[in-house]
Amino acid sequence: MTVQAPPAPAKAATPVRRRSVPAAVWLIGPSVVFMTLLLGWPVIEGVMQAFRNEQGFTLEFVTRMVQDPYFWPAVRNTLLLIAVMIPIQFAFAIGMALLLRANPRLNKVHFFIWAIPLALSDLAAGLVWLSIFNDRGYLNSALAWLGIEGVSWLAYDNQTTMFICVLIAELWRATSLVLVIVVAGLQGIPKDYDEAAQVFGASFWQRLRHVTLPLLKPSLQVALILRTILAFQTFAVAQALTGQNFPLVVGETYRWYTGLQNPNVAAALALVILAVSMLTSIFYLRALREKTQGGTR
């Protein structure tokens, strides 16, 4: 650290304080500059793009975004996907993490295998699942082998199966992120608490409800915020599986930007995602806040 000690005889307080200001500025300066360049500037640029045309401030792009026939289906699909996917994903991840903890043998191998989807790009994951769900894919082949007639899982008029396909693919792809966070959180909880609960007669479900989950809350909070924000951004998997047939908000952003060549509406859509992400984070942080804050040492 290069902070200089203030001169010993503090005759006048002001010069001392004034001299220490530049040191602080030097210390935080670089990060402020980087943050401004890398985050602040694009955000401001994005906001301006969404709300300005040649004449100045306008709601023209926002109006166009909302009036687009794909907008509300995209919002609905995104919310539906999140509402269904997140609970299933957390149930899976917590279950898998508890299995890993209960069975110490081989758990390194299992953990590694279960974490593989984390290393896969989402487009690749989408293509993998496309090869399973398309009309001549593995699933239909398997069904044919069993003597069952195949289904056009991804047909544009079959919204339900399309939704289920995207859901399954996303579950497979993204649950491992939650798993990794939950496993890390579980490892941080001493075994004693679970043992004490067992000794005092708690069944598995009682222990889960009264001991494990409350102690896991900080990790769950992190996972929930991350996973929800990322779920708002679901794109490549759905794009690979369904193209335009199952619109999602980020997919719409992409379509406006590349297909329709309209960066202004794309920016407006991006702002919708930003706003919703921020609102959910705030909601989670408030909803899961420690009830007894302030008292702890």
Binding site: P190, D192, Y193, E195, A196, A197, Q198, V199, F200, G201, A202, S203, Q206, H210, V211, P214, L215, K217, T292, G295, T296, R297
Partner: protein, 359 residues
Amino acid sequence: MADISISNLIKTYPGGTERATDDVSLHIADGSFTVLLGPSGCGKTTLLRMLAGLELPDSGSISIGGRDVTYLPPNKRNISMVFQSYAVFPHRSVRYNIGFGLQMAKVAKEQIDKKVQWAADLLQLTPYLDRLPAQLSGGQRQRVAVARAIVVDADVLLMDEPLSNLDALLRLNFRSELKKIVQDLGTTTVYVTHDQSEALSLGDQVAVMRKGRIAQLGDPLDVYDAPSDRFVGGFIGSPPMNFVDAAVTPDGELVVGDQRLMAPSLLQSFGNHSIVLGVRAENVSVAKERASGHIAATVLVVEPMGSTILLTVDVEGQTLKVQAPPSFRTAPHQTIWLGFSPNTMRFYDRETSMALEAN
């Protein structure tokens, strides 16, 4: 309430080379208070955890109240336990922690409140009932763990060093308090400690453990008075038992160095043996004048303890600790005379360290 039968319990931890408990067998009578005593790492916690079902033995069996529970999960054993690490739930209030066992058993709310209040009063925790464990001192947290264990109506109460974190005065108070509580509850209790005074004062029976084995099992006074081997004598008592190399002459006399002692009749059958004489500090009488049957010793250190004076003396090159009455005046380098009464002397084999018995 139930008795406990432990037979031939062997446990080796995964990756461990030595047995944490080595062929332990023990019977604990219904409603009795058994203390497991031993130095750090001798397997006390391991044995207790097997009783609780938190650790499974490699072989051997445990039964509680006549029911084989060796492989039963902890929540099916109807036990309660004070953990060495407390394991007080950090995310819940003291009140919730104390009532946890009752809540799991789905006891009525008013009943829980009443019992929690009772335990909190006993353990002086009432002012802290609505605090979180993080806001308590170590000793208070330990008392929460004790309170949590005594409110439930268990067959067996297991306690792993429940007083280790209290200051000396509080520990002394709680020791007698705990004895009373457990007597009132009438629950079969297994209590782990490495504090020998706690063991002697609390236990109906004391099991002294060493390296995973039970070195001696018995009534506290027996264990103190007649240690079955040198380890037990050296571990129990403060100061520990004195051990002096001695020999038995062919005609049955006891010799320390060149000095002769009155030998009890027990030694008649050990003529011509090298043995170890064990004697407690308070069983050696001291005198300034020579008397028959006494042996000479040189004073090395004088430590007044208030009610007694502790003397460290040298007998024929061997160091002993003896107790003198507070009126006894002496100083280092002086010669004093030590008397041993035959019925307080214990004898041990030089090789095996086991107590000698008449045969």
